[in-house]
Amino acid sequence: MLEVSNLACSRGDHRLFSGLNFNLHPGQIMQVQGANGSGKTSLLRTLCGFLMPDEGDIVWHGQKICELAEEYHNEILYLGHLNAIKDELSGLENLCISAGIAGIELEEKEAVTALRRMGLRGREMLPTKVLSQGQRRRVALARLLVSDAKLWILDEPLTALDVGAVALIQELIAAHLARQGMVVFTTHQPLHVAGMEMRILALS
């Protein structure tokens, strides 16, 4: 369970938000809403541990994330604006390496299955620089299929995706929540998860 209390963050001289409180339980999904520049990405990055908050605590299963460090990293999956894939490597190589860095030894067969499920059949071995924007995003999102992280922190996951891919991601999120996972995300496109009550956090 994720507990955030009295969180305050600033960027440079500029205070983004303060006094933020929320809890997230297994099986829950939360959307962070706000205008451009209201601090959505900063909040997500603070939840990952990249940014130090000015005030407040983030507690995971009763322990502060700054103390947990690597153990906390084990439980989260972060997908930011950048795809985090190397242009010179193929989709398959990228996925195996991403999984490896996250501590998971992935068999080639499993990786290929994941990429095919993401709609990249026939393109697994091509260097990702020849793929389209949307296809690269799909390679990045393939990590969702092979990760065993409990908390997914997704910053605009649906960018560059077509309707079919959007539906697929919604399915994956629903399955993750059904397995008692948690999701915190931001999006500029509508994202509906079947049968789930979505919590909203609005940053002003």
Partner: protein, 227 residues
Amino acid sequence: MKKSSMLDLLVLVIRRDLVLAMRRRADVLTTLIFFVMVVSLFPIGVGPEMDMLRKMAAGVLWVAALLASMLSLGRLFSADYLDGTLEQMMLAPQSLSMLVLGKMAAHWMSSGLPLVLMAPVLGLQYDMSMRSLGVLIVSLLLGTPVLSMMGAIGAALTLGLRGGGVLLSLLVLPLCIPVLIFGTGAVEAASSGLNIASHLSLLGALLVLALVFTPWVTAQALRISME
């Protein structure tokens, strides 16, 4: 799906970076060509008199290796920083220092090691004796990893900055001066027939110190830069 160990991760990172270096061979080759060019510029600049060149050889080769290393350090973290893979590495459930060590090792293998192999060939242009060339190789073998590692701290601190490579060099070159001194000292001792053991053991000591401290310091620098 099995969980991997620290050693597996180290090997994974080294292999990844080496594969990437192979696929972007231009980056690796330009460093090497720069090294060759700088070494070749000196005789053109100071005159072809063999006696003088023989005396300058150790210094010229070492300074050129130093400059070439500084140039190549820009790409240690910047590509990963720009496409987001670096922040994923910082979210790894293993120690960031280990990942950094892997990147440093791969970087040295793709930038430093070619310099070490090229240097004796260039040493012949300066009429260095066989003994000197041998010591040159050993000193570069011990010293270039230290340059890579010290430079990695600079590369981590200057991530994404406009000043880029020049700023990195400004920060790191003063810190690399001991390596330069001991490295050239060893080669000059060899060409004068003196004992080289003290110079080489000092280089070895610097290498051990760098191995122990620089990965952790670089990891901290990365965290500071990624905030």
